[in-house]
Amino acid sequence: MPVPPAELTAHFTIDGPDAARAAAVEAAGPSGLARHGGPGETLIAGPRAAVLAALGDAVQAALAAGAHALDVRLEAPTESR
């Protein structure tokens, strides 16, 4: 693995209509960093600034589409990397 792992990974789940989840995924997609992270969960992994920007887009889109709660977890690599 001769390049570093993702500098930051954001996981998020959304409470609200399906349209809100879809809107969040659609908004994060163009970043190139979005993946499925579990049932109903999306993850965004990559450079810190890009992850935070894509996360912001996803949150905005989800709220605009009727989301009423979002759980977000951020992970940074541990010292072993």
């Binding site: 693995m1 390049v3 570093p4 792992p5 995924v25 979005a34 499925h36 992994a45």
Partner: protein, 730 residues
């Protein structure tokens, strides 16, 4: 001052490996031999479909099977439900979608392995089978539904150097393909997870990188990393195939769920589905040169099939781009390398890591160019050879020794083997299909290079702890502790040799690798001799400093005041990411090798006998010359496999040859004599000048063999592995 005298079995000596004789005698304890009292056996239910939706999973029948202790699905993963070396995009256990045949869906623990397998078969999955996306070109089509939210393009690396539109007087173009090669390590994935009293888990595992396994385990098990302890089990080969997790999380989940030790051990067929493979590649090249054979420009497009999940694909793509033009001075370069998601088996690290694919293509192009120029192919390569100070297509200078021209001259000047033998040495072997009629000899050359260690800004380091004390008999005694994985390459011996040389102590013990000491990085990228060797060297030097503070006396006297211990990290020089035009000082150092292949081909039957491989390789410093020879010969065998026989056949996303009956690897009957010349041009930035050995033999041996096949048959041979019908022109 403490005196270090010449020590037996130190650096530069062919020290016998401690694992050698036990392996030959079948007495070596591999991870598959692990055992614990009250141990349960784990088994995995895998998707039979390359692409499908999971409507439901019914586990009741499996759970009711006598002897079964647990049946777990994605709902039982307490922490992160995905894992991955670079991007955590691969499900520990699939929840809604499966994206390749063999994806893990559920796991079972039972008191007997056959019970566990039978119970796994009783898990009922309601599938909605979908059409798989298996063509990497089609995966790039924006109209195709993506496998992942951000689309199917995993990474694109664009390199632009000089004037990418420059034209030469002579132009050759070509399209090339490399098939999906397997690491084909002999010891299938295996490990033993033991729940501990603190609620954590101890995992004894055959792996390449203990700490990154640990970090991924801790995330998915929702445990602090300190409560996940890993110890290296006996590893039966790796070649990149153990960099990703396989059964690690599954075994730990089952152990924590049942409160009992759980062993998991894949069979050969399951192993093909349990690890990543070498990326298949499609490449298009355009070489421009002057009439006197100077390269003017190279333009290349490389498309890698990453399969269903990311693994190391982004780094492999970067390497394929970095080494796309080969070890040549090329003033004008444009490379576009992409890696995409498909529903094919996931691909990742394998010996040579991106450089193998592009070396096959650029060396075929150099042969083609030599024909167009009516020039000797070695002379063409020599005339354009990289050297120290050359500027790479990434804009970075080559700082290390780069004896490309010398390596080529050495293999060219080695004596040629005698005339063709009869009988069993002819193509077809003991089958006796020819007495020599229709058999043509061919000679081919190739040269390649690759980065050593991690690149693109990765803070690459290894850690070693060295302790020196007096044994009961009063003799000095050293212990070396690191987390570096001995995967069969001879690293344990290297660590001991460096400690002996630096400490002047003959009695050295290398402790088992585990996570109780800092990370050593992975046993990959040909890096461990340089990185963990560097860490042991640095820790030994620190120990000697501490001893010197005790005075000037023989070691035995200094140690009467007690043991001395030091833990040190070794970091290589800083590297930097590539920018949008693929420019940057991304790699720390390089290793080079050249090969000459002699083949006999039965041109009517398409059968091949590789008569001899001659090679010259610069290794920096041969710490253990015999081990260096072993690495080079083993790497050539793997390169021969890719040239002639090794390919995972995937049709519509389904693997058709998941066995060593149908996936052929070279045996002793296929392996020719190797004529070997090792150069030791040390890297000025590394202890002893250490660089790496493991990968270069695999990189340019394949194109050398195919070059020889072309010379014998006159066929274009643009794809590896080469099949008999390709050689016979059918």
């Amino acid at each position: 001052m403490t005196t270090v005298v010449g020590t037996r079995s130190g650096v530069g000596e062919s020290v016998r490996r401690p694992d050698g004789i036990p392996k030959v005698k079948g007495e070596f304890a591999y991870a598959s031999d692990l055992w614990a009292d009250r141990m349960l056996w784990g088994s995995t239910l895998r998707s039979p479909h390359p692409r499908a939706k999971i409507r439901s999973i019914e586990i009741a029948a499996a759970l009711a099977t006598p002897g079964v202790h647990a049946v777990l699905t994605h709902e039982d993963v307490p922490g992160r439900k995905t894992y991955g070396l670079e991007i955590p995009d691969q499900p520990v256990l699939a929840w809604e979608d499966v994206r390749y045949q063999g994806e893990a869906v559920a796991i079972v623990a039972a008191d007997h392995p056959e019970t566990a397998r039978a119970a796994a078969r009783r898990i009922e999955v309601d599938w909605e089978v979908l059409e798989p996306l298996t063509d990497p070109e089609r995966a790039l089509d924006p109209a195709v539904a993506p496998l992942h939210p951000s689309g199917n393009l995993l990474r694109h690396v664009h390199i632009e150097h000089g004037d990418p539109a420059a034209e030469g007087e002579v132009v050759v173009t070509g399209e090339y393909e490399v098939g999906m090669q397997d690491q084909a390590f002999l010891g299938p994935e295996s490990g033993l997870a033991v729940p501990s009293e603190d609620g954590g888990v101890d995992l004894y595992i055959a792996t390449q990188w203990l700490h990154v396994d640990r970090d991924q385990l801790a995330a998915s098990l929702d445990l602090e990393p300190e409560r996940v302890r890993l110890v290296l089990g006996g590893v039966g080969g790796a070649f990149g195939g153990r960099e990703d997790l396989s059964m690690q999380v599954h075994a730990c989940l089952l152990a924590l769920h049942t409160g009992r030790p759980v062993k998991m051990m894949y069979g050969r067929e399951e192993s093909f589905f349990g690890h990543i493979h070498r990326h298949p590649a499609r490449m298009r090249y355009e070489h421009h040169a002057t009439r006197d054979g100077r390269l003017v420009a190279v333009r290349a497009r490389v498309l890698l099939d990453g399969g269903a999940y990311a693994s190391s694909s982004t780094a492999v793509c970067s390497n394929a781009a970095s080494f796309a033009v080969g070890p040549y001075d090329v003033p004008n370069v444009r490379v576009d390398a992409s890696v995409v998601y498909t529903d094919n088996p996931p691909c990742g690290a394998m010996r040579g890591f991106g450089a193998v694919q592009t070396c096959f293509a650029h060396e075929a192009q150099m042969d083609k160019l030599a024909v167009a120029l009516e020039m000797d192919p070695v002379e063409l390569r020599r005339r354009n050879a990289l050297s120290t100070g050359s500027i790479l297509p990434t804009g970075a200078p080559v700082r290390c020794p780069a004896p490309v021209a010398e390596l080529l001259e050495r293999v060219r000047d080695m004596p040629l083997p005698g005339p063709r033998a009869d009988g069993g040495d002819l193509p077809g072997g003991v089958a006796g299909v020819t007495r020599g009629e229709g058999v043509v000899r061919g000679v081919g050359y190739a040269v390649g290079f690759k980065n050593i260690g991690y690149s693109e800004g990765f803070d690459d380091y290894s850690t070693a702890r060295v302790r020196v004390s007096l044994a009961a008999d009063g003799e000095p005694f050293a212990e070396v502790h690191s987390a570096a994985a001995e995967v069969g390459q001879g690293l344990v011996t290297v660590q001991a040799q460096i400690a002996r040389s630096e400490l002047g102590v003959e009695r050295v013990v290398v402790l088992p690798a585990d996570t109780q000491v800092g990370s050593a990085g992975s046993s990959s990228a040909s890096r461990q001799t340089m990185m963990t060797g560097g860490a042991v060297y640095t820790a030994c030097r620190a120990v000697m400093e501490l001893l010197r503070e005790r005075g000037d006396a023989p070691l035995e006297e200094l140690l009467r005041d007690g043991p001395v211990e030091a833990t040190r990290e070794y970091h290589h020089r800083e590297t930097f990411p590539l920018d949008a035009n693929g420019q940057g000082d991304a790699h720390v150092t390089f290793a080079f090798a050249a090969h000459r292949a002699i083949v006999d081909v039965d041109v009517e039957l398409g059968l091949v006998k590789v008569v001899e491989i001659a090679t010259a390789q610069d290794v920096g410093k041969a710490v253990n010359p015999q081990a260096v020879e072993g690495q080079i010969e083993g790497g050539i065998a793997q390169g021969l496999g890719l040239a002639l026989m090794e390919e995972i056949v995937v049709v519509d996303g389904q693997v058709r040859n998941a066995s060593f009956t149908d996936y052929l690897i070279p045996t002793v009957l296929d392996m020719p004599p190797v004529r070997l010349d090792v150069l030791e041009l040390g890297d000025p930035d590394a202890p002893y000048g250490l660089r790496g050995v493991g990968e270069p033999p695999t990189i340019s041996s394949t194109p050398a063999i195919v070059s020889a096949l072309r010379a014998a048959t006159g066929q274009a041979l643009t794809r590896v592995p080469v099949r008999p019908d390709d050689l016979a022109g059918l």
